[in-house]
């Protein structure tokens, strides 16, 4: 193998290349430009760079030919499915940068803007690499890149003790989880003799080599992935970290880094444990590893614990943290179906989840900007003080509950259809009951916004771009709840 292959293939990593360049550019601009210009230039460069990466990715969205030849395909997979996830992550990151520009919490640390944005871009680079990883080493490196930068970003409001607490807790959980995962990977390497994820299929499918060690390895790697997507029982860091971090970073952790983590989970299951796909789209799995049961248990635990813990939260950010655990539970129950339609429903759900969750978080960012707190009392009367925000947040919360006619309903509808197709009635019932529980705590926020009067009579106004961002999310959430065919068709095309 010579270096020539590398140059032939590197162009396949479109978005990663652009982000790597932008990341370096931000570091340099921050160092070289004067303080004032850097302050203005750095967010703009990041934003333009991310959009450019997304466009460049779109130009070769369905192209897979380059990697098939040689070289990089041993440890990186580039296919429409991964490109779809990358597009989602780039889309989310674009708005994370935009939110940062409008968040008072982030503006307050303007002296660290260069570092803040360069770390955001480094996280993005890690997530893109994570989506493509088809090798345990690449996987581990990219997870570490995402984690290391996230620890710092979570603690970027250094003067706030809660932010530092979030950072430290995240570090401790993250370090243990990735340590356990690395231990599993090293045992697996000892068993298989290769770090490629695809190669471990030959080992796991060999019935003569079936032993308890395989389960240990499987569980250890699942710990690492489960921590990244914060599914129960690896979720303990989530509420504290989400509450303490700047709201923008909370949005990032609950949206983009979860998508990357979920793609890793999909890759792990599909490459290592899937034998074949039957004609009606169901996956034949390696029987002895019982993934259907594992996913069912994880899904029920995540949904129930997430939803019931969210009921009692006073902080809206903390409530959204628990609700994001519940949403991972919904997606895991689609994973338990182990079929193409289950996978598709996850892809739909992620798109809609992006819209409604990012929208909900930007609304919370504005409320925190104005009132300086994210407790549920600070939402009192917001519906009258900022009518547009009140209506938009109501739409997002209704959509997160999964009621028609919003995008969240369509997402849940497809998951339920996939589960019914596989005749998983008990799981479906738990799923629907959980949605009812979720209704209570989402609507509680709406009640505070519209039915509770606030003590003061302060008037809050949002600027035109701020209102524009709210509309940018709330209008699609409603439109996709009614007319969703183009999205569904587009996502279907990524799986062919």
């Amino acid at each position: 193998m010579s270096l020539q292959y590398f140059f032939d293939n590197i162009a396949m990593l479109r978005s990663e290349l652009v982000i790597a360049v932008v990341f370096t550019a931000v570091v340099f601009v921050d160092l070289l430009a004067s303080k004032k210009t850097a302050l203005k230039l750095v967010p703009v460069i990041s934003l333009v760079g991310i959009i450019a990466a997304a466009i460049y990715l779109l130009t070769g969205f369905y192209q897979t030919a380059g990697l098939d030849s040689v070289g990089l395909k041993d440890y990186l997979t580039v296919e429409p499915l991964t490109n779809y996830f990358k597009l989602l992550i780039l889309f989310g990151s674009t708005f994370i940068v935009v939110f940062s520009m409008y968040s008072d919490e982030i503006q307050a640390i303007s002296e660290r803007h260069g570092e803040y944005y360069s770390l955001l871009l480094a996280t993005l680079f890690g997530m893109l690499l994570m989506v493509s990883a088809n090798d345990y080493i690449v996987l581990y490196i990219s997870i570490e890149l995402v984690s290391l930068t996230s620890y710092v970003l979570a603690g970027s409001m250094k003067t706030d003790p809660k932010s530092s607490e979030a950072s430290l807790k995240y570090l401790l959980y993250g370090a243990s989880a990735s340590g356990i995962m690395l231990f599993g990977i090293s045992i697996l390497y000892g068993l298989v003799g290769s770090t490629s994820i695809s190669d471990s299929y030959t080992y796991f499918s060999d019935i003569t080599k079936f032993s308890i060690t395989n389960f240990v390895v499987m569980f250890f790697i699942l710990v690492g992935i489960g921590y990244k997507i914060s599914s129960v029982p690896f979720h303990f860091w989530t509420p504290d970290v989400y509450e303490g971090s700047p709201t923008v970073i909370t949005a990032m952790l609950s949206v983009t880094s979860k998508a990357a983590g979920f793609m890793v989970l999909i890759r792990f299951i599909v490459e290592v444990f899937r034998v074949d796909v039957t004609s009606n789209g169901f996956w034949t799995m390696l029987e002895q590893y019982r993934w259907e049961q594992i996913f069912t248990v994880l899904a029920i635990a995540s949904m129930s614990i997430g939803n019931f813990a969210a009921l009692r939260q006073k902080s809206v950010k903390r409530m959204l943290a628990y609700s994001s655990i519940a949403h991972i539970g919904y997606m895991l129950s689609a994973m338990a179906v182990l079929s193409d339609s289950g996978l598709l429903s996850i892809l739909y759900y992620f798109f809609f989840y992006y819209l409604m969750n990012l929208g909900a978080f930007v609304a919370v960012v504005y409320v925190v900007n104005k009132t300086g707190s994210d407790s549920i009392e600070s939402f009192n009367g917001i519906g009258y003080k900022m009518p547009l925000l009140g209506v938009a947040l109501t739409i997002f919360l209704v959509s997160l509950t999964g009621l028609p006619p919003t995008a969240g309903f369509i997402g849940k509808f497809y998951i339920v259809m996939a589960m019914l197709e596989a005749k998983m009635i008990p799981l479906t019932i738990v799923f629907l009951l959980n949605s009812v529980v979720a209704l209570y705590y989402y609507i509680r926020v709406v009640r505070h916004m519209f039915l509770m009067r606030s003590d003061d009579s302060k008037k809050y106004t949002l600027t035109v771009p701020e209102n524009g961002i709210l509309l940018l999310f709330s209008v699609p959430v409603v439109i996709f709840g009614i007319y969703f065919t183009p999205i569904v068709e587009f996502i279907k095309s990524t799986l062919k």
Binding site: F23, Y116, S118, V138, S142, L148, Y151, V152
Partner: protein
Amino acid sequence: MTLETVLFWIFGGLAVVAAIATITRKNPVISALFLILNFGGLAGLYLLLNAQFIAVVQIIVYAGAIMVLFLFVIMLLRPDDEKSFFAENKQIKWTGIAIGTFLFAQLAYVIFVGVPKQSIVRDAQRSVEIGTIESIGRALFTQFLVPFEAIAFVLLAATIGALVLAKKKFD
């Protein structure tokens, strides 16, 4: 006795003596310094096994970076008198002895009793081939160039992150 055997006894003896000194010294700084000596002895053993890369990494990472970190932690925390510490926390000593015995028994079992399922001679041969610095360097800079470059980004991001967390005032 071949030269290899002589060197084995020298390095092995060095490692054992240094390890014993590490746990018997009262002053934690001296313990840490003996641990570095122990790592040096182990690195020599690795070199005898033709694992050049691991030997170098042992020196650079363990004896270099990690031990410097250890020493910093020891100096910053200034642990109190060790005797009174152990007098107050008796169970720590016994936990340490239990873990040590367990690890020793495990290793002894693998070496003397445990029969490997498949012949390890072939794998050992292969690990010598791929364990040289040359082959690792070749793999890093051809096949695994992308992950290697990604590590560079991890380092850069970690440096920036450490700066953000450690620096008190930005100007």
